[in-house]
């Protein structure tokens, strides 16, 4: 990221499959309008579980874009990933011909929190109800959290460096940073991001042990970070994939530089130790700003982690103030994920997509459902706020203790 100018990592494509939109256009429209799509969990087998509200992706037909032979061997989280990767590559105007011509110049990096829960559950049910001979061989790969990276690269015939980042929810941002490093080391294009599908019965049961999970049944009250009524977070499925490309390679082929991945840093402060996350997050922000060579006053908007747990919200607000100083009380902060839920590793990638779109449109999307903020933050609520935006700071923390910060700059900024 502090690479020589010509190996700078640019974002040239965005692909979104989110609860509030299964294309980048519909996602941005819903995000800037501040629509909340949080709703009762309708997934079969989840009806009687204590998790009542989530951000489900509805109206997504994987068969419309993905070949059946890839569908039978993959879980829903990989369906999202393959579709989002297609959208991002189309957006970047990279076609199959580019991969055929230079397969080693394109790689894939994804992050995933839990892998293919629904697929795994189905096969385990076969195992216990009928026996091992009835477990399909694709079980060996489909529920593995690395499946999406593998399947995207196989399907699109990419032979460049491929990897999977396993570093908690903040891994979504770490995957983008990893992509930027791969670009710096010489790969032209990395398709990077995260998608998750944690709304199957087995996966939901796994999450019930999290103290931070909101089990409030009213969608309008279930996820309200930075307020007195904060009661935890609402989970979500879906996510986003981005095309991260060497600026030179992008310019050579005449692609639009939508934004630069300018700086990133990550720290670790321990599972659910939210008070300690203040220092960890602050340190990540400092590292990201330093790498981006960005002064605190240059940050024009902050996309908050917004966990929705009072102690965690306080730690985040203080971390922003610790690093940005007086500017921390003036800089607009937003958390559009209150309208979609928090898709684990996918959440900060969707935030990054929203940040790039915000920079392009000069519009800060609001924080749906949040009204009375009880921290010293200028949280954008109600409606989108027009602003001249050059630099966005995206924050993410994981339940297991990872903290990460990413600085994204507008494509037109030198």
């Amino acid at each position: 990221m502090s690479e020589p100018h010509d190996r700078r990592a640019a974002i040239t494509g965005i692909g979104v499959v989110a609860p509030n939109g299964t294309s980048t256009d519909t996602f941005w429209k819903a995000t800037q309008e501040g629509l909340s799509v949080l709703d009762r969990v309708t997934r079969e087998g989840c009806e009687h579980l204590p998790l009542k509200v989530a951000g489900e992706v509805r109206g997504f037909d994987p068969a419309a874009t993905i070949e059946e032979r890839f569908l039978v061997q993959t879980d829903r989280f990989t369906h999202f990933a393959m579709a989002a990767a297609d959208f991002a590559l189309d957006d970047a105007r990279l076609g199959q011909a580019d991969a055929t011509e230079a397969p080693y110049s394109i790689g894939v990096v994804t992050a995933a929190g839990s892998g293919g829960g629904a697929f795994g559950q189905r096969e385990l049910q076969q195992l216990w109800s009928k026996g091992s001979r009835f477990v399909g061989p694709y079980q060996s790969i489909a529920w593995f959290y690395a499946a999406s990276t593998g399947q995207i690269s196989i399907r699109r015939k990419f032979k460049g460096p491929c990897s999977v980042v396993a570093s908690d929810e903040a891994g979504g941002l770490d995957a983008l940073a990893h992509a930027a490093r791969a670009v710096r080391r010489g790969t032209d294009v990395i398709v990077a991001g995260s998608t998750e599908a944690p709304l199957a019965p087995y996966s939901v049961v796994c999450q019930l042990g999290y103290d931070e999970l909101s089990t409030v049944a009213d969608p309008s009250r279930a996820y309200r970070p930075f307020t007195e009524d904060a009661c935890g977070f609402v989970p979500a499925e879906g996510g986003a994939m981005l095309v991260v490309e060497a600026e030179t390679a992008a310019r050579e082929r005449g692609a639009d530089i939508r934004a630069h991945l300018a700086g990133h840093a990550a720290t670790f402060t321990g599972a659910s130790r939210w008070a300690e996350s203040r220092e960890g997050l602050a340190q990540a922000i400092r590292g990201a700003l330093a790498e981006a060579d960005c002064a605190p006053e240059e940050v024009d908007v902050v996309f908050a982690d917004a966990l929705g747990v009072p102690e965690a919200d306080r730690a985040e607000a203080l971390a922003i103030a610790d690093v940005l100083g007086a500017h921390g009380r003036r800089v607009p902060v937003t958390a559009p994920k209150t309208g979609t839920g928090r898709g684990y590793c996918a959440a900060p990638v969707l935030d990054t997509a929203a940040a790039v779109l915000a920079l392009e449109h000069g519009l800060i999307p609001p924080t749906p459902g949040v009204v009375a903020v009880c921290h010293d933050l200028d949280l954008v609520t109600g409606r989108a706020r027009p602003a001249e935006l050059r630099t966005a700071l995206i924050l993410s923390r994981g339940l297991m203790g990872s903290n990460s910060a990413l600085v994204v700059r507008h494509g037109a900024v030198g």
Binding site: R69, Q73, R133, G136, I141
Partner: protein
């Protein structure tokens, strides 16, 4: 069951286990094409073998999942089934 495994059944299993749609007629014409060219990977073929074993209640030859073509595959699995209906 001791019926011979037909090209129709293979076509059906390719769809079910590997998500690959090739009609029985087309499969007959592409009898000597590689499974890879038909879009069936090694795990897909393993799944087809597993389905056949469950349906026929009999183990298939150990090399079945290494068959390269539909012809090789059908010759091999049918040689292992008891002859006659």
């Amino acid at each position: 069951m001791s019926d011979r495994i037909t090209v129709e059944e293979l076509s059906e299993l390719m769809k079910k286990a590997a998500g690959v749609t090739v009609s029985a007629e087309e499969l007959q014409q592409r009898y000597d094409s590689g499974f890879d060219a038909l879009g069936v990977d090694s795990l897909g073929l393993l799944g087809i073998v597993g389905e056949l074993e469950n349906r026929h209640g009999a183990p298939m030859p150990t090399d079945a999942e290494r068959s390269r073509t539909p012809r090789q595959f059908l010759d091999l699995v049918n040689s292992a089934l008891p002859a006659g209906a």
